[in-house]
Amino acid sequence: MTTCSSTRWNLVLIGMLSVLLITPHAFGQQPAEQPSTQPAAPPAPAQPPAPPAGQLPITQPQPTAVPGRPDIPNAEVNTQIRPVPAPPLAAPEDKLPIPQLKLPKGFKIEVYASGIANARSLRLGDKGTVFVSNRVLDKVYAIVDKNGKREVKVIASGLDRPNGLAFHNGTLYIAEGAQISKLEKIEDNLDNPPKPIVIYNDFVNYQSHGWKFMGLGPDNKLYVNVGSPCNICEPPETNGQIRRISLDGSSADVVARGVRNSVGFDWHPVTKELYFTDNGRDWLSEDLPEDELNRVTKIGQHFGFPYCHQGTFTDREMGWGRSCNEFEKPVALLGPHSAALGMRFYTGTMFPPEYRNVIFIARHGSWNKTKKVGGDIVIAKLNKDGSVKSWEPFLTGFLQNNEYIGRPVDVQVMKDGSLLVSDDYAGAVYRVTYGSSKVAKR
């Protein structure tokens, strides 16, 4: 104990403490009580306390508890399969993992912008502004590029898990835990952004998988995942789906059901079909199930959750009486617990021709697995009929010695054909280029 070793120090503290003892109610949230070394036994109220004004709304009860958590007799193993923390502070630029990252021959990676804690979804504005969202924090950022010099601005804060972003016609749409709002003419007002205007709030507020991914469809509607509020459960009718909503929020319908939690989707540049990643359930086994890449060929299709996983086997609890043949099968399996998140079709021209219309997919990396998988960007190559021919790693190195030094979340194809990658672990956005294309100065 080094902080309070000196006598004087203690005297100061005692002085302070005596101030506190005179006015203890200023520090506790209950009426004054004599401090005691024994914790007070609190009475059990009939109802949980209501939230004070200005605080978060009460979440709905979860449909189930924590079912399906196995007995793992080995306590050492237990410690290796718990969630990976998401740091609230960004890594300094000189600590970013650029030297450890690996790409195919001819590609280069640089830091596009640093100091963006919990950098999540990426969207590109018409005038070249890159918007970056948060999941565990409360902000939306804008990265402005002026002749290769980049500036990061906070354009919204105090939001509730504002993970989902979409951009249309000068307006940025932000999907939070329980609402969608918009910032009009945002690129003209980055230094004095307007307050977000809520356009839609027909979401039940869940903690579990409550954050949203959002994109603008070819039909100019907002597509939003409404995650299943659990690891494994029968989700309520309102959840476990991808929903599309008109830009004014006045109408909505369900595009895909049986979705556990999708945190990435995009539309095929030619067929305009929706492809989406979906995260498989936890705590089933080290190797099962794999995360899915799905394709919606008809509005309202059901993709299996919670009854069927990866199109091949029924759930050990929820799957009885069901068959995987009842549901749409994934077009690719992306690795067990790998957390396949953001994805985009490559529509640029900077990369070699064979990259045209491949899907870049960010795998955030597993936590519910002792030997981690993911922590990379993979590419999925498609056949003419829209099925997946193969997939392979593209950008690797975020996973070193079974620990993450970065975790990719989303990708964004830029107008010049370069590819941005967000990293919510290091709090940065990277830029991948090909060939002799000039790496812009920061």
Binding site: L13, P35, T37, V66, A86, Y206, Q207
Partner: protein
């Protein structure tokens, strides 16, 4: 209340420069860092030896540094709304948060309640912990790790308060884990859990 709070804060802040000056004159030990000085008013409530004597104020001793840093960040950014903590963390830099968290993590762990406790309540809590796998994240000895807080020896009233706030979503979770787990835990069960953890040796 607001006015009184302000007065107390001013008094606490005022005490700091005096201390720094006296140390320069002739310290008994190594001069504490700026972060140590800034922590003085914090530890006046939370307990300078890691053990809080204040109702519903948590003991911070041996809390994982990552967890402390996250909570300080959430207070500074007003992601958690607790007036005094929001005030105390205003103006702290990211580096301040990191170094204060590191110092707090080195405080000794709080002492558990020594009285033996009601065996029936302790058994009920053990069964709940087994059922909900609390030990997966919080460690079998409830020491916590990284973003997961230490629970062993924490004040019972604070544990009850925190659990109720997570359950009712009045306390913002940094991630969704506690909201998930607490759905199926009743208020009565939550009291048993707090009772057990405050006595955990």
């Amino acid at each position: 209340m607001g006015g009184l709070l302000g007065v107390v804060l001013v008094l606490m802040m005022a005490a700091l420069p005096a201390r720094a000056a006296s140390l320069e004159e002739g310290p008994d030990g190594p001069a504490p860092t700026q972060s140590h000085q800034r922590l003085a008013p914090c530890l006046a409530c939370h307990g300078e030896k890691g053990q809080s004597e204040q109702p519903e104020v948590p003991s911070l001793g041996a809390q994982p540094a990552f967890y402390v840093m996250v909570q300080l960040y959430m207070f500074r950014e007003r992601l958690r709304t607790v007036e005094i903590m929001n005030t105390m963390t205003q103006g702290l830099t990211d580096d301040d948060l990191r170094s204060m968290a590191d110092i707090i993590a080195k405080l000794p762990p709080p002492r558990p309640v020594e009285a033996p406790g009601d065996p029936a309540r302790l058994d009920r809590a053990r069964a709940l912990i087994q059922q909900h796998r609390c030990n997966f994240c919080h460690n079998p000895n409830f020491s916590g790790v990284q973003q997961v807080p230490r629970l062993a020896g924490q004040r019972e009233d604070y544990l009850v308060k925190a659990l109720r706030e997570y359950k009712s979503n009045t306390r913002r979770s940094y991630d969704a884990a506690m909201g998930d787990v607490l759905y199926a835990i009743s208020d009565e069960q939550l009291l048993d859990l707090a009772y057990f953890l405050a006595r955990f040796q």
